[in-house]
Symmetry: C2
Subunit: 419 residues, 2 copies
Amino acid sequence: MSPHSLPPAPAAYRTLDTDGIRAFLAGVPTLATRLGGPAAHWRIREVSDGNLNNVFLIDGPQGGVCFKQSLPHVRVDPAWKMPLDRTFYEAAYLREIRPCVGALTTDILHFDPDLFVLVVESLDRHVVLRRGLMAGGDWPDAARAVGAFVARGAFHTSLLAAPFEEITRRLDVFSGNRTLTRITVDLVLTDPYRDHPRNHWISPDLDGIAADIRTDPHVRRRVGAMQARFLTCRQALLHGDLHTGSVMVADDDTRVIDGEFACPGPIGFDCGLFIGNLLLHLFACGDSAGQDRAVRDIAQFWASFHDTFGELWRTATRHDGNGDAYAAALFRDDPSGLQQAQADFMRDVTADTIAFAAMEIIRRIVGYAHVPDFDTIPDRAARAGRQAAALALARDLLADPDIVTTIADLESLARGRAR
Amino acid sequence: MSPHSLPPAPAAYRTLDTDGIRAFLAGVPTLATRLGGPAAHWRIREVSDGNLNNVFLIDGPQGGVCFKQSLPHVRVDPAWKMPLDRTFYEAAYLREIRPCVGALTTDILHFDPDLFVLVVESLDRHVVLRRGLMAGGDWPDAARAVGAFVARGAFHTSLLAAPFEEITRRLDVFSGNRTLTRITVDLVLTDPYRDHPRNHWISPDLDGIAADIRTDPHVRRRVGAMQARFLTCRQALLHGDLHTGSVMVADDDTRVIDGEFACPGPIGFDCGLFIGNLLLHLFACGDSAGQDRAVRDIAQFWASFHDTFGELWRTATRHDGNGDAYAAALFRDDPSGLQQAQADFMRDVTADTIAFAAMEIIRRIVGYAHVPDFDTIPDRAARAGRQAAALALARDLLADPDIVTTIADLESLARGRAR
Ligand SMILES: Nc1ncnc2c1ncn2[C@@H]1O[C@H](COP(=O)(O)OP(=O)(O)OP(=O)(O)O)[C@@H](O)[C@H]1O
Ligand SMILES: Nc1ncnc2c1ncn2[C@@H]1O[C@H](COP(=O)(O)OP(=O)(O)OP(=O)(O)O)[C@@H](O)[C@H]1O
Ligand SMILES: [Mg+2]
Ligand SMILES: [Mg+2]
């Protein structure tokens, strides 16, 4: 990304510190009311833990809000300049999907287009799923909720739900999310499969398997096809960064956050990222109870996604929905035909899911941005060994699409390999 | 299409008659110079033979031009209102592809955004391929030229040729071509598979097969998938209406015209429409020499498309092209891997081509807009018989994707069925 290609930051933009945040919130009546009491009493704490943005939680006597602001650079690397528009896309994504996913994500409370500030509900009873899992926690309903989230968001932004004129208009907005899509294209889909200075891994332990992945002709062939699939298949509006760090959980509540990578794409990309991160957790996990839970979560995510999506589709067909793909007229009087069509459709989504899950595993071990899940393994050789096993699974999944064709098969293969 | 959803025609718009055209051309210096002499000497003749627009050829002492103007309605049905923007998209399409297809289409000489007038080179030595074929003519190089046209246009607007930022920006313009894409969605992809007042056919002769096509569960399943494929797979910029009436031929020259339906989509749609129309000609054709030529044309179109596309891709990879799909880095040192990737890619394009060819055959016999090719058969029962054979082939191709998996197999099956 060359800095000279950046649009200029709007003149009104400045990065707000805690005083600035206090004044900003006080100036927006709905937010001030929500927080309650005098602004001086609000407690402001930074919770930024990601790479990109400033995130603060603000508590007042009446309630809380979460404040997120884009910076003109990567938060953890000020030399890496970046346009500010990512909170714009996160806000646009929330507006698109909130009506169909409801409380599976956060309510959007405010967006400021000059400061690129997004304010959403504060989830202060919640923890980030990844960190919860790493600490050995268990949220038996979380994966199911994420599956429903993906199904509802994807269905309602797809051509199964509405005429192409409407869907195209809605998706085209997100074509503009070029900066973050470029990051996905480079970091997830491309860099791990070439020599690139951003790649790194536990060396020399993983040198062999990393080279293997870069040079295996079958892997390359599949990776090439998945690059094309990500960029050309506009099945629905994706979250685009649906790892376990983008899910926050409480005992009785699950929310998907951080939709700034939203873009049109194949539904299996969201599914693959989530399953890929559960697989990473599975391989990082020392105890067999934790491994069992990871497998259960994959199964429940998928069942929930699959069944919710199928039911939405059946309902739309029954009610003579006006989607232009698999037009209702074709299947209204033919439930078994619809079942077949759904099976065809899901076969493709499954194949995408498995391939993108494999690519997520790879990029999170040998690419630029690793997952912390393996950090719980203190012994370096043991850590590398578990990573190697995860990489070998991912390589095999990419090299031979027939090795695993259902998510159930994926679960058992992974469970066996992680032992 | 409800008239109240139309954007208002720009105030400056009016439909030009021959006097208006003369004045208009005289007012554009480059066009007046190209025609030469005094405007009063220009010969203006209407050649509109399509459904949508006014088209005139103008000859002057120095040269000629072709004048095309959108009407605020369908030309042949003034009650069917329509926005004017189709010549805008045709002009935009020419600007996009002319640099890579060169003289396989016409040069764009002028576009007027108020009058929606597009002026291009006049092809006055040429005839429309469909009419030429119907008259028993033979243009042995035409199909090869059209294959090269599709390959070059598709390759250079695909993610094999350039980074996604550039390709998305270029393709998104054509997302706006909603009016004509809606026509494709309705007339080509949807109506023939439901009861619809726009459908018509030789009745009662074809009642049975038409009903068969509407109700066969295997056909429906495939049609549903192809609807999704057309609308979600943004592989390249399509011509969008590449039938044999959109090709003009002279002995030594072939041009593709009429790109007003341009939209992003799967490359196999353009291939399928062209092959579908050659198949329609094949079935309409009484004599076996004509049938042989139709089969030869299909073979040459496909070989030319396939080889040209493959060669452009190999060259881009060798020169370290910056396309984001099948990134050059994957295959630069691995020509056999690239060959495999190309085979995978072409397998999908082939499947799309066969299915869209079948759907084109169907909609041109039982849908709204028929092809005139069968009109050369005076006997009504014989005409219906030939159409029934074409429909049966199309139905079988859709019902069982495995019946034919290569274009060569398609040729022999069709040749056998057309006898
Ligand atoms: N609505 C919320 N309520 C409470 N805490 C939140 C909320 N949203 C985010 N957080 C906390 O802030 C952290 C960073 O948020 P988020 O992931 O949205 O930021 P980011 O900069 O986009 O991160 P990344 O680099 O992962 O993209 C989260 O991990 C979570 O701990
Ligand atoms: N550049 C040209 N030179 C000479 N004749 C042309 C040229 N372009 C079009 N024509 C003639 O005008 C006719 C109509 O042109 P064209 O197909 O572009 O119009 P249209 O209204 O878009 O038709 P359709 O309803 O098929 O879309 C063609 O069939 C051809 O005979
Ligand atoms: Mg983020
Ligand atoms: Mg036309």
